[in-house]
Amino acid sequence: MHDFLTILPLLIIVFGAVVLMLLAAFEKVSLTTAAGISMGFFAAAFAAQLLAGCGPQRLVFEEIFNGMLVAGNFTMVAALVIFACGFFSTTSSHTYFQVNRFDGLEFYSLLLFAAAGMVLLTMAAELITAFIALEVMSLAIYVLVGYDRNRVTATEALLKYLMLGAFAGAFFAMGTALLYGAAGSTHFTAIATVAASEAGSPLLLGGAFLLFVALLFKVAAFPFHAWVIDVYDGAAAPVTGFMATALKAAVFTLFANILAIHGALHQGWVEILFYLAVFTMFAGNLIAIGQNSLKRMLAASGIVHTGYLLVGLVAISADTFTGAVIGYYLAAYAAGTLGIFAALSYLGGEGEKRATFADFRGLARVRPYSAAAITIFLLSMAGIPPTAGFMGKFYIITSAIEAGQIALAVLAVVSSILSMWYYLRLIVAMYFQPAEETFATTGSPWAGVGTIALAVSVFAIGLYPIIV
């Protein structure tokens, strides 16, 4: 029964996806209803996840699923983040689609499918399960990215993402193969055994290498980051928000789970992850500083946050791994990023005509509350107290120093200094420059409500970091 409760949220999401798919197939409902249903399923899954409670990592339906699914505190946090992301992406989408009319009922179905894939990804305790879950998630998101078929940039983003994503997927498959060769099985437990007995096994090394390349690609770590700018730019704002948050949460959860399967495995990767984290943070900053488009800047800043999360991965200790730091950071990051994309969803206007920094000049004069919310999100992303982003960064740096990675902690700090530039740049534009337009928006107030809720949650998560 307990096991059933544990996978209940997942079942709810899958069920919701199928329901919406069927409704879409028969075109029986309005878009608003579809969005409502989607929100309902996300909310229900969220609630179910909360109800299911949590505990230490354990296998779910070990007999039936042959030990391929795990659940615990960490996966619960990740699932909650994913469900929340789905929920708020739905609210944003609803408003967005009332202005940008390329919608379809399948959109919400795909959103739910993607979420299902993500949750499966976080819970995977076996590589091929993870691979397929990853593909479920990826395929759904590919489609979401390219959903606006009439817009060539969306298609271009789709092409880039799909092509590179499949490319990375092939690495995942090859990595799985090599690990299979090393362990004779693709279960994490088997790999852990090998890692414990022969830590320097070349097959283990090579397999993990290819596997990690794929994961690093998905989270847009340097040097596998280049796609992310263009894809975020080309996708619709709510989709970008969903990708930037939920996807990253899912992949990082898997990443952490894999690294944490055994200390020896983690130990072998500390050095490379160290450099990757450093390069990722700085590359992200350097890309962000040169951008004029908000979405591109946010994409680049997402790279920077990937860097911070990699710092967190460097610092995890496989023996005492709880995922708290990573989970908290993911939640904090998700709240800020989702919020800003929610705001962009309704402020962007038709065809996302307001896209650059300059387009948001003087927003605070005309729409002070929106500007204030965006400011809060930006401050959270920049890590200014008392927002969630601050606490997230605090935890990450704490864990890095605890792990003895002081240099990495300092570099992370330096990187956050660099990131101030472009976050402040938007605030400067919104507050310190005169307004040139009225920023009139149409459509439902859902995105706005979501923005406010997220702004509040940024503070709530920051001031009461209960989940850690």
């Binding site: 091929i128 298609t155 789709l158 092409l159 880039k160 490319f167 997927g169 193969a177």
Partner: protein, 98 residues
């Protein structure tokens, strides 16, 4: 002997990578990716033989399923691209840059 299969698999995998980075034709690129997946499959099967367990066969089937799904989507994208520009040159699609 099993090693030879694996080496072949690595070679095919590398050739797949080469195809991805050196070609601009969308079809070729996707087929290169298929080639990489095939290479992975070969490794699965060979290792399955090595370990004398049939798990590798199942894994290869799964990879095939994934490859098929990806192919379906990829072909849809190809159609979409063709509708947009009438060309299948990846370099044509570089509106998003900088």
């Amino acid at each position: 002997m099993i090693q030879d299969y694996l080496i072949l698999s690595i070679i095919l995998f590398s050739l797949g990578i080469l195809g991805v980075i050196s070609r601009r034709n969308v079809f070729t690129v996707f087929m290169s990716i298929e080639l990489m997946l095939n290479a992975a499959n070969l490794a699965f099967i060979a290792l399955s033989r090595l370990h004398e367990s049939m798990d590798g066969h199942v894994l290869a089937m799964m990879v095939m399923a994934v490859a098929a799904a990806e192919a379906a989507l990829a072909l849809a994208v190809v159609i979409l691209l063709h509708k947009h520009k009438g060309k299948l040159d990846t370099n044509v699609f570089s509106l998003l840059r900088g």
